[in-house]
C-alpha cells in the first residue's frame, strides 16, 4: 500500500483504538466481575449460577464489545502495517490499564506496581523489536 499522510493518520487512529480499547475491555470485565462476586467455588451448581450472573452483567458485555473493537482494529491495521510496528504498541496497554482502573474503578496503584508495569512495558518493547518471521512463508488465500 502506498505510504501517504492519510495512511499515517489511519494507522495512528487504529493504534489509538487498540491501546485504549484493550485496557478498557479488561477494566470493564473487572468492574463486571466485582459485581458478580468472587468465583471461588467450583462445584457445577455454583459455576452455572456464576455463569448466569456473568451473562446478565452489562459491564461484562461492554467489556467483550471493547475487546472485540480492539481485535478488529488490530486485524485491520495488520493488513497494511508490519507486525513489528504494531506489536510494541501493546506495551502501552499495561500503563493505560492502570490509568483507566484509577479513573473507572478508583483503584490505587502503588509506586512498586507502577515500577513493575514500567519494566513490563520495556520488556514488551524489546520483544517487539525482534524479527517476526523465523519460519518459511506459505501462501493460502
Amino acid at each position: 500500500m502506498k505510504d501517504s499522510p492519510a495512511l499515517h493518520i489511519k494507522t495512528y487512529l487504529l493504534l489509538l483504538v487498540m491501546v485504549l480499547f484493550a485496557p478498557l475491555g479488561n477494566v470493564l470485565l473487572s468492574k463486571g466481575m466485582k459485581g458478580v462476586g468472587a468465583a471461588t467455588d467450583w462445584r457445577p451448581a455454583d459455576l452455572s449460577h456464576v455463569l448466569m450472573r456473568i451473562s446478565g452483567s452489562g459491564f461484562i458485555w461492554l467489556g467483550i464489545a471493547s475487546l472485540l473493537t480492539f481485535f478488529v482494529a488490530y486485524m485491520l491495521v495488520l493488513t497494511w502495517a508490519d507486525y513489528s510496528y504494531v506489536q510494541p504498541a501493546s506495551a502501552f496497554s499495561y500503563a493505560v490499564v492502570a490509568i483507566l482502573s484509577y479513573i473507572i474503578l478508583d483503584e490505587s496503584v502503588s509506586p512498586l506496581r507502577w515500577a513493575g508495569i514500567a519494566v513490563i512495558c520495556i520488556g514488551v518493547l524489546v520483544v517487539g523489536r525482534t524479527p517476526h518471521r523465523t519460519t518459511l512463508e506459505r501462501t493460502g488465500a
Binding site: 470485565l29 468472587a38 490499564v97 506496581r113 519494566v119 520488556g123 523465523t134
Partner: protein, 124 residues
C-alpha cells in the same frame, strides 16, 4: 493455591490456544486476498482444521479463567501478570511450532518476567 491455579490457566490456556490457532493458520498459509468471498472461504477452511477447534476451546478456558481471576484480584495486578504469556509464548513457539527465537527476544522475555515479579511483590 487456588489463585495460582487460575492464573496458570489464564496464561497456559490462553497462550496454548494462541499457539494452536497459529499452528492451524500456518497450515493454511498466509492470507493475501482480502475480498469478502475469499475471506469467507478462508474461514471455512480454517474451521476444518482440528488445531483451530482445540485453540478456540483453550482460549475459551483462558477467557473464563481471566474472568475468575478478575473477580478475585484487582485488574492492575491481573493484566500485568498476564504478560507472562510472552514467556509461555516464546517457550511454546520453540517447542511446539519449531520457531527460532533470537537472543534479543529472550532478553525481552526476561525483562517482562522481572517486571511481573515486581508486580507480584506489590501484592498487599
Amino acid at each position: 493455591m487456588h489463585e495460582a491455579f487460575v492464573l496458570f490457566l489464564v496464561i497456559v490456556a490462553g497462550t496454548g490456544g494462541e499457539l494452536c490457532i497459529t499452528r492451524a493458520m500456518k497450515k493454511l498459509g498466509e492470507v493475501t486476498d482480502f475480498r469478502p468471498a475469499s475471506l469467507l472461504r478462508f474461514v471455512y477452511r480454517a474451521m476444518r482444521v482440528g488445531w483451530m477447534w482445540i485453540g478456540l476451546a483453550l482460549m475459551t478456558i483462558g477467557f473464563f479463567a481471566l474472568l475468575a481471576m478478575l473477580s478475585i484480584e484487582n485488574v492492575t495486578f491481573v493484566v500485568p501478570i498476564t504478560a507472562l504469556s510472552y514467556a509461555a509464548g516464546a517457550l511454546g513457539a520453540v517447542l511446539f511450532l519449531r520457531e527460532r527465537i533470537s537472543l534479543q527476544r529472550w532478553v525481552g522475555v526476561l525483562i517482562v518476567c522481572i517486571g511481573v515479579s515486581i508486580v507480584w511483590m506489590s501484592k498487599p
